[in-house]
Symmetry: C2
Subunit: 309 residues, 2 copies
């Protein structure tokens, strides 16, 4: 058995896994034969430090990249499987977090009938988003699947990939989730909350095997696979991206630096790379870089499907 | 210097700290002389593992206890300082997370004027919450202060406590946040994202000094201070709660077990303890245990203010 097979054997599938698998398959079968389907993963995975989990290691990610991209893929006609960290940002609702939503509402007394309305100034903002959301709901083009732990994510990634394998090159995988490189094996984990009386604990982590290799080569061999690389050190970024392409044999790494990721990414292909950026005017106009990323990718994907690449 | 003083010296205050301090003081001064003010802390603190933070250790907490309690304290006439983990649950909006909000809306074309309304079936649900939210906003009885890291939390806890010291026994501190016992000192932290090439890292944690001691004895000596204890092991719970009361000299520990915390807590006083629970009927009626906790506490606090305890 390879490292990743041993790894999967050591993990328990998430609750309701068989039902989720059924939903994934049904979703892929239900789409029309021309529809492209993208799997978007989003948000960070957790590594529990105790079986009865009070503490965990987490990866910094609000799900901004993934949730915005999912919205633009839907806008570009894709069906979207959105595998996301529970409580991270979701397409559409991401625009109205926290108390923002309550601030948009007013109570209106019309003909002695009390109703609640969106205030005039907010209608223009909300209308296009609500419109697209309702259209997506009606057409059944969005399937949301939540995860919390690294283990949940691993099982769902494989199941979603396998359900996409039947549509060949029409499938894209857009792996934007911030997946931990490390984990604490089940048998190294204490059952109860770690106690501080005995002094601070030391957490020993193990490397997570790279599943991108079986994913690209076995699970979805004909799909257009895009991975992400986030670093804080510019010097490492392109080098590490190219190494990843060589090792895993997929199509594209979208590389970004933590501090500038909202304005600048680099598309790294095996033999070329170029920047996708927002200029000052676009930033002032609240253009999201994900709209440009998805635009570019949809074209690349079309070329790939028609055998031009 | 005590351990906690050294600890504070090693931490950088959060962005905009002086402005936040000013807001806290202004909030406390603005309330009427009869108003009781409660500081509710809510959600988990993070411990960054890198200066440019990609990874962090987190404490399991969605902010359910804190956000629900804040709402009931407002209902009981308190002014509330809500110090909460950014993106955790907030009072009022907690009822409408994720896509729930968009599902409640419909577009209506009235006299050629497009408006957006809450659908009929949701009006009854939303009305009392929106009503209370708007009343609280108008009366200026809620101040929300977000934190992310343990360090942010520590600074804000001290500032909020100090701003409450002027109102003496009318202040309550309801410390429901899940605060880490451990941290990684600034000088032990790598600058950039930890690289996996060299094998898995080992994270060495240090104990966080207990600030409940200076808080109770120096910062707000006349306030009614309530702390929480969460364990996964029942055998430890009451024993550890009583030890905490002895050590820190505050009024009450609310003790709970991870798995049953939504239905059962134990109020542990220095010389007595009793359970606050939901019965099956209350659970079926969606009664929240925080309503009972706050009811009980508000009475205890009144007795304390009038010198009866």
């Amino acid at each position: 058995m390879s490292g990743w097979e041993v790894f999967y054997e050591s993990l328990t599938p998430p609750d309701g896994f068989e039902e989720t698998k059924r939903k994934l398959q049904e979703f892929c079968q239900r789409q029309s034969p021309q529809t492209k389907i993208v799997l978007v993963t989003s948000g960070g995975t957790t590594i529990p430090l105790e079986h009865n989990t009070v503490r965990f290691v987490d990866n910094f990610s609000a799900g901004t990249r993934g949730s915005a991209s999912a919205e633009y893929f839907l806008g570009a006609g894709y069906a979207v499987i959105f595998v996301f960290r529970q409580k991270s940002l979701e397409p559409f609702s991401r625009h109205f977090m926290g108390q923002k939503f309550l601030n948009m509402l007013e109570m209106v007394d019309e003909n002695e009938c009390l109703s609640i309305k969106v205030k005039g100034s907010n209608v223009e903002l909300l209308r296009p988003i609500l419109h697209q959301y309702q259209e997506v709901e009606r057409s059944g083009r969005l399937l949301q699947v939540p995860f919390t732990t690294l283990s949940d994510y691993m099982w769902l990634l494989r199941a979603a990939s396998e359900s996409l394998s039947s549509i060949g090159s029409r499938a894209m995988l857009y792996l934007a989730a911030a997946v931990s490189d490390f984990y604490v094996p089940m048998d190294k984990m204490p059952t109860h909350k770690m106690q501080s009386d005995a002094g601070p604990p030391t957490i020993s982590l193990q490397l997570v095997p790279k599943v991108l290799k079986p994913l690209v080569n076995m699970w979805v061999p004909n799909a257009y696979v895009v991975s992400f690389k986030l670093e804080t050190d510019t010097a490492l970024l392109i080098k590490k991206s190219r190494e990843a392409l060589k090792k895993y044999n997929h199509k594209l790494v979208i590389a970004n630096i933590l501090q500038t990721r909202k304005f600048r990414v680099v598309f790294v292909f095996p033999d070329t790379d170029y920047e996708v950026t927002l200029n000052d005017q676009e930033i002032a106009d609240n253009i999201e870089i994900e709209s440009k990323i998805v635009d570019d990718l949809a074209k690349k994907h079309d070329n790939y499907i028609s055998g031009m690449v």
